[in-house]
Amino acid sequence: MSVPLLRVEGLTRAFGGLVAVQDLSFEVREGEILGLLGPNGSGKTTALNLVSGALAPDAGRVTLRDRDVTGLAPHRLSRLGIARTFQLVRVLPAMSCAENVLAGIAFGRDAAWGGAAWDRARALLARVGLAGREDHRADTLTYVDQKRLELARALALSPRLLLLDEWLAGLNPTELREGIALIRSLRDEGRTVLMVEHVMDAIRALTDRCVVMNAGRRIAEGPPGAVLAEREVVRAYLGDEDA
């Protein structure tokens, strides 16, 4: 089998006495969408933080293609092709939409500056459904548009691996349909995505495989339909009594 794009081995991270991620291992293959699931507080965001460099692991290894990138600073990882969005959406509030995207273009992998960069920013805004909003301040956008903007900024880094932390959370049914179509179009152009998600429809519609976490550990892995039916997964989501 070919080398996976991302390999995580034995990843562990504790906050004080609480072990948020424990001995976590999984792979993300080139061109797939991998879902990272689990009940609240199971360590999904922490796992993404360890991959994006926001946090350094206490133990374990992160390999991008065949390069050991464990504990690298986020700006180094961004330049190597790991981009992300945040569970609590983060835009650059007082900057225009175009400048928000430019922030990803100017310093990332395949960086650009000047006229070419502005053209790319415009194209990316159009790509996520924000055409013509170049000059709007980011903090005047609605919640869903801020999420789109954040995605455009992540795409601006020309990522090899895109990390999405509940990017589809909090959308209404129409927005959700559009969001799912948008992520699907990313896969169609060959991007690799690791997405944390709670929305079951989105998980079934988008992911090729899923990894399920509970209390910091991996408890299941496989295609979404099979994984969600597993006894231990049902128990993790519903609590012991119901299983």
Binding site: G53, S78, M95
Partner: protein, 303 residues
């Protein structure tokens, strides 16, 4: 600033260069005072404006510059003295930057506050125990008009660099950091390096100002050179004017230099209290600075 605005500003500085030819007493002294704070506040805002890291290290770098002149003034030709003053300032800023700029903003404020005091104590200790003196006479052949022209030159240079910065990728990185440092890091920006570079650039100008101003005193000791009031005055001037734009700080410098001049002359014993009161007034009444007020007035006029 646009190219035309920059050219106009530089032409205005040239015209202002004639002040010493018209008067070499009160007006020149006032012009020197304004020019001094214009350079300090603009250099302060170069770093603290976009990053929103409040630095109280102004007095430290100003003092480093001034003291370098007191020590080396007689030994070296003037341009080399300036070079040494700027060089030492930059070196210290790099050390401070490496030590603190990876930390969050709060730690940075506290550390820079302590820095001036720390350096002052070190210099005092050295003077007392090694040099066996408490202060130094400043022996250099620099006239008041020359001080003034050098300050105007520094200010012009700041405007040129600031204009270049606002169009450069480095300046953009700095603004992104000011907006959200976490996002900046995840967008490929080496935030520590950008902040350290700008902090050093700012420190260069603060130190040079101290050096240029030193010949105004015939005698300096650590307490005069490393005077914390400088840090606070510069901070309040930049905030009053508006630290987010290049000419903003100047708008705060002019009224406050005049105000402090009046207060210093009439209430010398209550100066600190009045400075504190002015500080609070600025923060409460003009949180976005004069630049912010002007922008709002313009928006209202347009509406």
């Amino acid at each position: 600033m646009s190219g035309t605005a920059l050219a106009l500003a530089l032409a205005a500085l040239l015209a202002l260069g004639t002040v010493p030819l018209l008067d070499d007493g009160f007006w020149l002294a006032l012009a020197i005072n304004i020019a001094q704070y214009a350079v300090l506040a603009t250099a302060w805002a170069l770093f603290s404006g976009p990053t929103r890291y409040i630095s109280l290290a102004t007095a430290a770098f100003f003092g480093i510059g001034a003291y370098t002149v007191a020590v080396l003034g007689e030994a070296l030709p003037w341009p080399l003295v300036l070079l040494a003053a700027g060089g030492i300032g930059v070196l210290v800023s790099l050390l401070v930057g490496l030590a603190t700029l990876r930390l969050s903003g709060v730690y940075f404020v506290v550390f820079t506050f302590g820095l001036a005091e720390l350096i002052r104590q070190l210099v005092t200790w050295f003077e007392v125990n090694v040099a066996r003196s408490i202060g130094r006479y400043v022996f250099v052949d620099i006239t008041q008009p020359q001080i003034y022209w050098q300050l105007l030159g520094l200010f012009g240079l700041l405007l040129v660099i600031g204009t270049w910065l606002s169009r450069s990728r480095l300046g953009f990185a700095l603004r992104v950091i000011g907006e959200d440092e976490v996002v900046a890091r995840h967008a490929g920006i080496d935030t520590a390096r950008v902040k350290i570079a700008l902090f050093a650039l700012s420190a260069l100008f603060l130190s040079l100002t101290g050096a240029v101003m030193a010949p105004r005193w015939t005698y300096i000791d650590p307490a005069i050179a490393f005077n914390m009031t400088t840090s606070f005055q510069v901070l309040i001037m930049a905030l009053l004017g508006g630290a987010q734009s290049l000419l903003g700080p100047l708008l705060g410098v002019i009224p406050l230099v005049l105000l402090f001049e009046v207060l210093g002359a009439n209430f010398p014993n209550h100066f600190s209290i009045l400075l504190g009161a002015a500080f609070m007034l600025v923060v409460y009444a003009v949180p976005r600075g004069i630049v912010g007020l002007l922008a709002r007035a313009r928006r209202r006029a347009a509406a």
